[in-house]
């Protein structure tokens, strides 16, 4: 299993100026910010890219202002949400037909993305080769054949490997959920 580092530990290393920590920070949260821009607010790609860069630029500048290092994810979500809304208002000025997204719909998507991040953390803990197989199949939408060729695994065994890996992730996820639940 991979060694896990909490969000708070990662933020603390970023603050201390550890050059590798910022790379890991961007790596850890890039999918989340990207998904909020795309799935949550359905920003066109160019606008999503601008917001994505702006989110990380502001996060880099203001990481020291974060009150609790554990709260970095909701803080990033809030920052991304605000910047997406600003961007949609600019778009709406140019194209008045574009309505702002329904707040409740956005809340639902953000809640799902939070669940997805929790599953992702369990997947990271399970580590490779499961992480790579599941990431390629579910997140990158690669076929059994492509995965088999890239990882040098017989394509006919990919389905059963995916199934076993999902079970491992579920076990890890359930363990984490139980551990974090108040007794």
């Amino acid at each position: 299993m991979a060694v896990e580092q909490t969000d708070a530990q990662l933020v603390s290393r970023c603050r201390a100026g550890d050059p590798e920590a910022w790379n890991e920070f961007v790596e850890r949260f890039s999918r989340y910010v990207y998904a909020i821009c795309g799935r949550g607010f359905r920003l066109p790609q160019q606008d999503a890219e601008d917001v994505f860069q702006e989110v990380f630029a502001r996060a880099f500048e203001r990481l020291s202002e974060l009150r609790s290092d554990d709260a970095v994810r909701p803080w990033l979500a809030q920052l991304t949400r605000r910047l997406c809304i600003d961007r949609l208002r600019v778009i709406a000025r140019d194209t008045p037909s574009d309505a702002e997204p329904d707040e409740r719909e956005v809340d639902d998507v953000l809640a799902q993305l939070d669940d997805a991040m929790a599953v992702r953390a369990a997947l990271d803990k399970v580590g490779d080769p499961c992480r790579e197989i599941l990431d390629r199949f579910f997140c990158r939408d690669e076929s059994y054949r492509t995965i088999g060729e890239l990882l040098d695994i017989p394509a006919g065994t990919i389905a059963s490997r995916i199934s076993r890996c999902l079970e491992k992730v579920r076990t890890e996820f359930d363990g984490r959920s139980r551990a974090s639940r108040p007794s």
């Binding site: 990207y34 880099f60 669940d115 990158r140």
Partner: protein, 88 residues
């Protein structure tokens, strides 16, 4: 004994994983290079504050002045520098 079941079966785990595709590599790389870009911007602004000739070059043709100073005038550097120079 009652066993509490968590709602995330394998199917749901798969569905949730699908919600988080990777961001484009170029975007991630640009965000990772932010600390270096910030250091570069600080250096360019400090030089602009001290060197009137360089300041004029930046105002005349920002991209060329950045390139002449030995830096890559990426869109992020150019837009940030333009914003920072307004205060100089």
């Amino acid at each position: 004994m009652k066993i509490e079941m968590n709602g995330f079966d394998e199917e749901k785990i798969g569905r949730l994983l699908r919600l988080l595709p990777p961001a484009p590599e170029g975007w991630v790389r640009a965000a990772q290079e932010l600390p270096a870009a910030r250091a570069m911007l600080d250096e360019l602004v400090a030089r602009a504050e001290q060197d009137a000739a360089f300041r004029l070059q930046l105002r005349a043709d920002l991209e060329r002045a950045v390139a002449n100073a030995g830096y890559e005038p990426s869109p992020f550097i150019v837009s940030e520098l333009r914003r920072l120079l307004e205060a100089v």
